[in-house]
Symmetry: C2
């Protein structure tokens, strides 16, 4: 049996997991992400942690397939990072550098793309060949798998679907500097924003006014309780999400659309609310795409990172 590591590099912690070649996670742990000094300690820390683990476990280095890593920024197919603002990183080949430090081959990808690969392999997209993964969290991220392979993009920004244009008349700016991005309507913060706008535009009594600060979960809870204003806000959100997902499917034509991130905790109601709008906007030949919820939670990144290494070096 061969083994390997999946690394999910975040802005505050690094999740590292140890897998066997069948994809069983045998162990996982975290180390802090030290972003001081342009983040120059991050890769040596990861390499040291992995080497220490191998020494303790008395694993034969010859039995290690390699290391996969997901990074919070654009990474192209050759492992070149194109600025990770959160980590203080510029442009360099992370795969080559971590490989030199750890002594094993390394394959790198963008964190959302890598999480997509994890859900494709062991989660909500299991058994499919073509998948669109969407994380609806503070922002909206995505990852696309085409015939079993990640779409990295020429500049490492493949599947940045949270920044597709959903409303060209929007005047407020998205975090990316553009106006009218998907992320401004379909993220957890986007839903709260839609609710605030709705509340400001009416004198209608609503449970939504009871919350300060108002959260995305509050909006869903008010909807469940039958609050009419909350229901209208959710309907508006479902319409935006359905149109957006249809457009992604009009490009990619996947077997399945997997929804993850905090907003997906709303569960089946999210899929049921969005589907009619999706059906309205999707091209007929792509309408058979299934909707599914992500199932790996925070482990998706580690699974996907190891899968990246397994595909590259597993022979």
């Amino acid at each position: 049996m061969k083994y390997g590591f999946g690394v999910d590099l975040g802005g505050t912690t690094v999740k590292i997991a140890y897998f066997d070649e069948t994809g069983t996670m045998l162990s996982k742990w975290e180390i802090p992400t030290v972003t001081d000094d342009g983040g120059k300690r991050i890769l040596p820390d990861i390499a040291a942690s992995i080497r220490q683990y191998i020494a303790q476990k008395t694993v034969e280095p010859a039995d290690i397939i390699g290391i996969g890593i997901g990074v919070p920024g654009p990474v192209n197919g050759r492992g070149v990072v194109n600025k990770c603002v959160n980590l203080g990183w510029g442009v360099f080949n992370i795969a080559d550098e971590l490989s030199a430090l750890a002594g094993f081959p390394v394959k790198a990808g963008n964190d959302a793309n890598v999480a997509a690969l994890g859900e494709y392999w062991k989660g909500g997209g299991k058994g499919c060949e073509n998948m669109v993964f969407v994380t609806l969290g503070t922002g909206v991220g995505g990852g696309i798998v085409v015939e079993g392979r990640l779409l990295h993009g020429a500049h490492g920004s493949g599947a940045e679907i949270g920044h597709m244009v959903l409303n060209r008349d929007e005047t407020e700016k998205c975090g990316c500097g553009k106006c009218g991005c998907v992320e401004q309507y379909c993220s957890a913060t986007g839903i709260v924003r839609l609710a605030r706008r709705a509340m400001a535009g009416t004198d209608e009594v609503s449970r939504l006014h009871r919350f300060d600060p108002l959260t995305c979960k509050d909006v869903f809870d008010c909807g469940k309780a039958g609050d009419p204003l909350a229901l209208r806000v959710l309907e508006q959100f479902y319409a935006y999400l359905g149109e957006f997902l249809a457009d992604v499917c009009n490009v990619v034509d996947p077997d399945v659309v997997v929804l993850g991130g905090g907003v997906s905790k709303a569960g089946q109601v999210l899929l049921d609310g969005t589907r009619p709008y999706f059906d309205q906007y999707v091209f007929h030949a792509a309408r058979d795409a299934r909707f599914a919820l992500a199932s790996l939670g925070n482990d998706a990144g580690a699974y996907g990172a190891f899968k990246l290494a397994l595909d590259a070096f597993g022979g």
Copy 2:
């Protein structure tokens, strides 16, 4: 040296070309597409024409790599056609069927996707790994190449980007049955439609009124001559096209966007007019995508079809 065939199957004619393995087109000819009786003669006619060519040329069948074919409808990665309305075809495996008739291995793809592969290999996308190809003709079609491989889609409708939603407030129906598709604004007919709407909405004197029927080329010609109404129509078209291309690039992040089809005969003015809107709507990490014009014209489909076979069977 090995050889093979690229077949571009259209609704009225079948273009067949003979290539050597380096991609040099050695010969090309056409046969009519006989769509009578549910199109059941189409594949036997193609097989007979290819066998006849081989007999005349005294090529050794052992030197034939295979046949690639582009089909006007959805085709998945395994060669299953999912209805070609123009040909009268239902659902069947065209690759298996043509292979049995012709005696060579066959690989099939959607015609727009296959043309994209041709432009990727020998045309406007030459030298790139990731490409978006857009045909702006009577309709709007597309093809996407990811790290050198065609995105077929799970149901054979990958890159049906002409049916992305561009205007959710549109009330007129697209040919696909939806409202507000890219094709309604960015095709040759879409441009004429924008011009008609503009003419109907103003008393302004314009050269556009001189043409009946008005064509897409007339609108571009009036723009070149400085007609203010035509220039405003073109600006509106460039804005739609720029937003649309930005959204596709936000998903795919290609090296290059190649524009083909009748509208692309407008040339550099099309690229220059569209670019500022593209820059406004594209995610920053994907903004370095180049724009280029298609260069293979009607031969793109045959080149791409042969390349499909070469990739599959060329060893």
